[in-house]
Amino acid sequence: MISLAARDVLHAWGKFVFTGVGLGLLIGVTLTMAGVYRGMVDDAKVLLNNSGADLWVVQKQTLGPYAEPSSVHDDVYRSILGMPGVASAANVTYLTMQVQQGDRDVRVMVVGIVPDGPGAPGYLLAGRQIVRSHYEAVADVGTGFKLGQVIHIRRHNYTVVGLTRRMVSSGGDPMVFIPLRDAQEAQFLKDNDAILNERNRTAANPAFSRPDVLEAVINSQSNNPFVNAVLVQIKSGFTPEQVAESIRRWKRLQAYTRAQMEEILVAKLIATSSKQIGMFLVILAIVSAAIVAFIIYTLTMGKIREIAVLKLIGTRNRTIAGMIMQQAVGLGLIGFIVGKISATVWAPMFPKYVLLEPGDALRGFIAIVVICILASLLAIRAALKVDPAEAIGG
């Protein structure tokens, strides 16, 4: 027996291929949407991995430092260092802002780090780590900066001494690392005019009218003794939860383990986005099903005469149903191949990371086959209702 489905498709391949390509682009969009979600999850994991921390110590009753603002005194790390099980602890600050890169504005996350401490970029593509305590920066290649270029952050210029990659915030913004002190200042200080205004306002306050008090107040205002979190690495032989628990108890601070941070980032921070994408996937699946159903139905209706003749000359219903279903699945196959290729081609062009997982492709493939089979049922029903007597006519 020959394949009626294949012969029919080969005969009218133009219509079939065009539909397949259209469906494929839709499937490409679907796979990309899934990839956007995976990219978001991966960004979150990369963020946690790259910080090199086992524990995140943040302000009490916050989900900081990524999902909520958190502020911790910058001397807290010293007392944490003295606790049992703590191998190292380092302050870190995070500040998302726009910086000028050439003629364009890029949104970056400025990370204040202690060189060599947890939180410093672990891997450099080029250049070196920050060694001076001021005005040096390591930038993610995603920012577009090159070695030796200057980044203007608030009041200061930072020279790019190193480049790293895949260092992004949970929102996908590339990171710029600068020394902690500078970052604390950047977070606190706005610009010269703002400082001037603040000083004038303080000086005008009668409560501070004694000269020595005014001096002290202005001094305390012009430095920032806070950081967003303390990153802690623990010694072997201790569990993260053990150490986290004693920090919570003795330091009146919140401490999150790696697993808890992941829960916060994936389940809370990107939960709404993932629902958003989930809705998209559902709609795309319905639209794809409608397209396949419509086109297969139309192709089948165009063959009613032939189907009546096939039935009259003794073709089984099963053979006819198989022919239609094979065509629907064939359409899905073309669509999947086109979709996979197009998603792979356009994914790198997206501004944020798009992670195309083979598992998603496989699930997508199974979904497409199922959708095509379901979508062909309408056409099969119509074909099976065709009366062989129609071939004889009136």
Partner: protein
Amino acid sequence: MARDRGIFIEGMRKRYGEGETAVDALKEVNMQVMPGEVVGLIGPSGSGKSTLLKALGAVIEPTAGRMILGDEVIYDNGWLISDLRALRRDKIGFVFQAPYLIPFLDVTDNVALLPMLAGRPNGESRQRAVELLEALDIAHRAGAMPSQLSGGEQQRVAIARALVNQPPVILADEPTAPLDSERALAVIRILNQMARQYQTAIIVVTHDEKIIPTFKRIYHIRDGRTHEEAGEGREFE
């Protein structure tokens, strides 16, 4: 009466619908066509030709009567749908007014499809198809698609398809309607030749004045009743 092969119909009736609106499309049909014989079936519009063809073609079930195909009693007290499908495939050949070839199969496979549907291997089916295409003088177009053939060529392919399973009976519905008289006569000549060669009983439903004189025997159908008549049986070769 020799009933082996050929087709024999006795007292066939067909009623569409029930009660008030019932239509008696066939009231009394008696026919017999012997192997190797080509008979005409003619009648005015609404007389029941299509209904009879559908009953003979095993796509509708008559209300009463007997039908014997070859040596098999097809209808006496009732029949099964699944049997009808195999019956149509193996025992009845169809030729229509339009050739109704499958547009996505080439000429050979249009003919070979029937034995393939009956479970014959592809190679054997194609070989049988090619033999018939040769007999019908159309083998040189074996690889063409139906849309690349002329109307007369398509009709010859349709005849090859009707013959390929060597059915005892072929039903032809207005097979010459779209053809000019020369081609129409050629089709009739082929049908006669094939009827003799394969010992097939062929019933040709027609209005076509060009071919009516060629039948030796004609069944007239009027108001659901058949009447047998001798035809002119004019030689056309």
